[in-house]
Amino acid sequence: MGMRLYAVVAAGGFRRHATYRIATAAGVFTNTVFGFILAYTYTALWDERPQLGGYDLSQALTYVWLGQALLATSAMMGGGFEDELVERIRTGDVAVDLYRPVDLQLWWLAGDLGRAAFQLLARGVVPMLLGALAFPLALPGSPGVWLAFLVSVTLGVVVSFALRYLVALSAFWLMDGAGAAQIAFLAGLFFSGLLLPLTLFPGVLGEVARALPWSALLQVPADVFLGKHAGWGLVEAFAFQGGWALALLLAGRLVQSVATRRVVVQGG
């Protein structure tokens, strides 16, 4: 039991997603097409206003391709495991899961980390390489920055998981995950910085957007990659992501314990 079990579950999540080869190739293709379209629109924007949002053109282009590379990994628009968990809640199969001598939340987290690792390799690397071939990207020179980026991406995936876990748990009350999933999809699309870097959001909207958990999914890892956070700034960035991860995971456990009591009351 313990870490070994969760490592096996994570490896299972990795392997499971690795079986969908054609779907993965199709995803890479789509990420690349969107990368090209956005890269040209950003070029037009930065041509008008160099240094917009604190980025030069090559940094802005790098941001575009990071967005496409992390889209699947950080499940910015949802997906990954919620549908399955919602279905188990709806059918009552989750009662069996609760009997198992494993922690429900950590079980799904381990599986999702495995999925994210696969998608970072399969759907992240290729679009990034193609983007780097076609556009002048600002790639980090030092291995330390790459390492910090990986840590930041991992923290982002945990925040993303914790958010999606809460969305899935809402099925205990709503019986149908569609509404909550749609709200989460909208928030992820807009507040992760996928459409436009959050540093370009004006005034209070910008401040709020940068403080919300979704900024941990793309904006923070991208800024780490671009070397915007160094020294104490880097520690602060990790603390921001780690803080949201912890708070949302705890919220998930709280909601789960309330929901679990509900299942028992219903008689499983």
Partner: protein, 290 residues
């Protein structure tokens, strides 16, 4: 009974045109019936419908919010002002929304091939295309059309266009032909899924990706990309060329002015190709056998 079928077939076969037309009528009729069924089912949960329609509206609305945020920093993008881009955006969004409403369910074909439920559709005496297109008809997609029309209306209201009768005709012509071109992409993409069931996402590159591309003026993109979406996957005819005609602006690639009137022809050619691809896909289909 068998004799009657034989006789009616003997009557139909010599007149191929008549057979084609009757199949078309039959297909549209079946499409209407299946859609009506899904509408009744949707309206059983009105609150859920209202929420998902609003979600559909909001999800596409964020695209335009991103453009508004861009224009908080600049006055022009690729030499185009916000109302001009609104016109491009609204035209593409509305055309895509119409195609998505009518044929958006086509991208579920791969799933049906995989789980074997396509077989059920094959044994019914109704054109398969009509059944797949009408399957799970989603009225919530009106949200996208509404959003597109609002942005289009904003562009038309704010812009100072030197209207001529031809330019007035161009607007509905553009929306309907554009919807037909996107519709052909949906059918062609579904045909592709007969060969690669898991490749539904490739289709998104041309539908959602194409729609995103067309929201921005052609001056923004590299020449080769503009050539590709003009001559290979002719998305430029959805809104770029007709809108530039209405705006009286220069066309990309030095194309002559009359190409703005080609969208109906392009849509016809696209449907010819998509139809052929669909028939080829359907012919090659081998059931998974479960």
């Amino acid at each position: 009974m068998a004799e009657v079928t034989e006789v009616s077939r003997a009557v139909e076969v010599p007149d191929a045109v008549f057979v084609e037309r009757s199949r078309l009528v039959e297909g549209v009729r079946a499409y209407g019936l299946i859609v009506a069924m899904w509408l009744r089912s949707t309206m059983a949960y009105r609150a859920s419908f209202a929420m998902t329609a609003f979600g559909n509206f909001a999800a596409t609305g964020f695209d335009f919010v991103a453009i508004l945020l861009m224009f908080a920093h600049v006055d022009e993008l690729g030499g185009y002002t916000l109302p001009e881009i609104a016109l491009l955006y609204g035209a593409s969004g509305t055309a895509f929304g119409l195609a998505d409403l009518v044929l958006g369910s086509m991208d579920r074909l791969g799933r049906r091939v995989r789980d074997g439920t396509l077989d059920t559709l094959l044994v019914r005496p109704v054109p398969v295309l009509a059944q797949v297109a009408a399957d799970r008809f989603a009225l919530r997609r009106l949200g996208r059309i509404t959003q597109g029309l609002l942005v289009l209306g904003y562009g038309l209201a704010v812009l100072d266009i030197a209207w001529t009768p031809l330019k007035v005709v161009m607007i509905p012509l553009m929306l309907l032909s554009g919807a037909a071109i996107f519709g052909a992409v949906f059918v062609g993409g579904a045909a592709f899924q007969f060969f690669a069931q898991d490749a539904a996402e490739v289709q998104n590159s041309f539908t959602y990706g194409g729609n995103t591309l067309l929201q921005y003026p052609p001056t923004v993109f590299a020449k080769d990309l503009v050539r590709g979406v003009t001559f290979v996957v002719p998305l430029a005819f959805v809104n770029w060329l007709p809108t530039l005609y209405v705006l009286g602006r220069e066309y990309p690639l030095g194309l002559p002015e009359w190409v703005a009137f080609l969208p109906p022809v392009v849509a016809g050619v696209c449907w010819g190709l998509a139809g052929a691809a669909w028939r080829a896909g359907l012919r090659s289909y081998r059931s998974t056998g479960n």
